[in-house]
């Protein structure tokens, strides 16, 4: 284990940003979200949950996929660059780090989504182990260890000192570039990190949602859950606003649209939501007629459909963003609880 030798994080950040674009949690208009670091930004490493998850850096809320030059009867397809500058994202929590695995299974499956693939290849993920979990957290329910995130590099902060460990080849190569700022941690220091991790895990085990049970969500029971009478109560207050899908690090649905710039067509994609009725509407009808079906789709997908296709991996990482943000206080934790009662 290494440690950062200065107590000034800005020293580290300016060293990184001298090499690559660096994203950190910054405060803007009262909300914390990942933004490009600079001396003048208000960095908020203490903020546990950014409003938008780190997903935004790999699968942006909106991105141009291609352009079309239209001249008379002629169409010319403008394919985007095959290259991208490497970038670093610092401060990714264990839940968001796990969400990359969930998204990888979708976007990197054949046929590969090259937009996502290029960003994944270019991004160096530096995680921050959690020290102060919140009441809305329940990553442990999905087997995620908040103190051992899956990044290229993992950092732990104990008594104001930043400890550092590279976990992948990419992480090691980048660590080597920062060697002048890093030194070996002592055995006592490593013990202090381990002790803090245990203390944090003990806190998590006592959080309100820590004891949710998800092992009952197995593919063979798909139709049983689908037909559960509980959905009729659960969906009632849902406004179909889609907030839960936009803040969710694992939600992957998108729309593809064209935009006329005045000198050509840009085809872009943007996040979409299964909570919207437009999502599945067709000339011949609407397969998900009411909000009940749409609400059910979101949770069935996270707890059953996705795991059925991905060796039991759930498409929820227990980040608790939907717990904090839903205007009617509905969320996946309540759904798990209600369905589990049967």
């Amino acid at each position: 284990m290494l440690k950062f030798t200065s107590d000034q994080m800005s020293t580290l950040f300016s060293a990184i940003s001298a090499m690559k674009t660096l994203y950190v949690p910054v405060e803007k208009g009262g909300e914390v979200t990942f933004g490009v670091w600079s001396e003048t930004e208000k960095v908020r490493l203490d903020a546990l949950k950014t409003v938008k998850s780190a997903k935004d850096l790999f699968f942006p809320q909106a991105e141009t996929m291609m352009g079309f030059k239209m001249e008379g009867k002629n169409i010319e397809i403008q394919v985007p660059e095959e290259k991208m500058d490497e970038f670093v994202v610092f401060g990714v929590r264990a839940c968001d780090a796990k969400s990359f695995e969930v998204l990888d299974n979708v976007f990197l499956a054949e046929p590969v989504d090259t937009y996502y693939a290029l960003r994944r290849k270019s991004g160096i993920v530096i995680c921050a182990a959690c020290t102060r979990p919140e009441e809305s957290c329940f990553c442990n329910v999905f087997g995620i260890d908040a103190t051992a995130p899956a990044g290229d590099i993992v950092t732990w902060t104990v008594d104001g000192t930043l400890y550092w460990e590279a976990k992948t080849e990419k992480g090691e190569a980048f660590t080597a570039q920062l060697s002048e700022y890093l030194a070996e941690a002592t055995a006592e220091e490593e013990a202090a990190v381990a002790a803090q991790n245990e203390a944090v895990k003990a806190i998590i085990a006592k959080l309100p949602y820590a004891n949710l049970k998800v092992d009952g969500f197995t593919g063979d029971r798909m139709m049983e859950y689908f037909n559960s009478p509980k959905w009729a109560e659960l969906y009632q207050a849902c406004l179909g606003c889609g907030t839960c899908t936009f803040v969710c690090p694992t939600c992957q649905c998108y729309d593809i649209r064209d935009y006329d710039t005045g000198h050509g067509i840009q085809r872009y994609r943007c996040w979409d939501s299964c909570m919207y009725s437009e999502f599945t509407k067709m000339a011949g009808g609407q397969p998900r007629l009411t909000q009940l079906e749409r609400f059910r789709q979101r949770f069935m997908h996270k707890l059953l459909y996705y795991p059925m296709n991905n060796n039991g991996l759930f498409s929820c990482v227990g980040c608790g963003r939907c717990v904090n943000k839903c205007p009617i206080s509905m969320n996946i934790a309540k759904v798990i609880k209600a369905l589990g009662d049967e």
């Binding site: 690559k20 996929m65 291609m66 079309f68 239209m70 009867k73 002629n74 169409i75 397809i77 394919v79 985007p80 095959e82 290259k83 991208m84 500058d85 490497e86 979708v106 499956a109 046929p111 590969v112 989504d113 090259t114 937009y115 693939a117 290029l118 290849k121 270019s122 593919g219 798909m222 139709m223 689908f226 992957q252 649905c253 998108y254 729309d255 593809i256 064209d258 006329d260 067509i265 085809r267 994609r269 979409d272 299964c274 999502f279 599945t280 509407k281 067709m282 011949g284 009808g285 397969p287 998900r288 079906e293 789709q297 069935m300 997908h301 059953l304 459909y305 996705y306 059925m308 296709n309």
Partner: protein
């Protein structure tokens, strides 16, 4: 430092040129499309689809009704129903569109269908996906047993591929075409009535493999009729239609249960559909 990938991405289409447009019915046109240099756009198997787009207007999923053995052009039979399809209907030969594919799975013409008697049932524009299978089987005629095609539309004018089906297909040995229209009409001396009833009347032996595509109401009643005749759901194939955007199992739109219709479909057997939530 820069990272690099090869931009081979199924979201990115190819340029296609519309070479010929055939008015099939008052609201269906068949478009013959190939690459600018005259070569085929890509290979496909019967039942697979492609996304056709006019940039700035929209992109839509369409079955490929031509046979994979046709190397001259790929056909699409498109019903006018909205923004993109109206635009396509106003096009003239020589114009460009974008095409990406092949998308989805296909009918098991190379294995399960081999040596079987095949019953094809179509209604309206639902004949498009199954026409590719029929053409493929006619091109490999010795591999299959007896072929029956039952096809119905509102009127004689609404029968897509009428010339081909009434004149060419019946000339092929052991191949039978049964056309029906909903109501009596001058100049029509063939059978009259809805597809589900006609299928029951024809009273086919139950050892056939069935391929059925058409409006949901036709599918529902024809399937019930086949069950009454003694067919099993395992024998009956269909294609599904849901709203689609990516066509490659990523955008989430066509999800039913653990399946994505664009990637795991559009071809399903009815016993497979029974295991999925009824959201289609």
């Amino acid at each position: 430092m820069m990272s690099e990938i090869t931009r081979e991405d199924m979201h990115i289409p190819k340029i296609g040129i519309v070479r010929e447009i055939i008015q099939e019915t008052p609201d269906v046109k068949t478009f013959r499309i190939n690459a600018p240099d005259g070569s085929p756009l890509f290979d496909h198997m019967p039942g697979q689809c492609a996304m056709i787009s006019v940039p700035g207007v929209g992109e839509g999923m369409f079955s490929i009704p031509s046979s994979p053995t046709n190397r001259e052009y790929m056909e699409f039979s498109i019903k006018m129903c909205g923004c993109l399809t109206s635009w396509l209907h106003s096009m003239e030969p020589g114009q460009m569109v974008t095409v990406r594919g092949p998308l989805g799975n296909h009918f098991p013409v190379e294995n399960e269908f081999i040596g079987k008697d095949i019953l094809v049932i179509g209604g309206g524009i639902g004949i498009a996906p199954v026409r590719s299978v029929v053409k493929y089987m006619l091109d490999h005629r010795q591999d299959y047993g007896r072929i029956d095609v039952v096809y119905g539309a509102r009127s004689k004018e609404d029968l897509v591929y009428y010339e081909e089906m009434s004149k060419e297909w019946p000339k092929v040995p052991n191949t039978y075409v049964h056309l029906t229209i909903d109501r009596e009409q001058e100049g029509w001396d063939g059978p009259v009535g809805f597809v589900p009833n006609y299928v029951k009347e024809l009273n086919f032996p139950t050892d056939k493999t069935v391929i059925m595509c058409g409006p949901p109401i036709m599918i529902k009643f024809t399937l019930a009729g086949l069950m009454e005749l003694g067919f099993q759901k395992e024998q009956v194939y269909t294609t599904m239609e849901l709203r689609m955007k990516c066509g490659i199992g990523k955008c989430g739109r066509c999800n039913i249960g653990s399946k994505y219709v664009c990637k795991d479909g559009p071809v399903f057997r009815f016993d497979e559909l029974d295991e999925l939530p009824n959201e289609y």
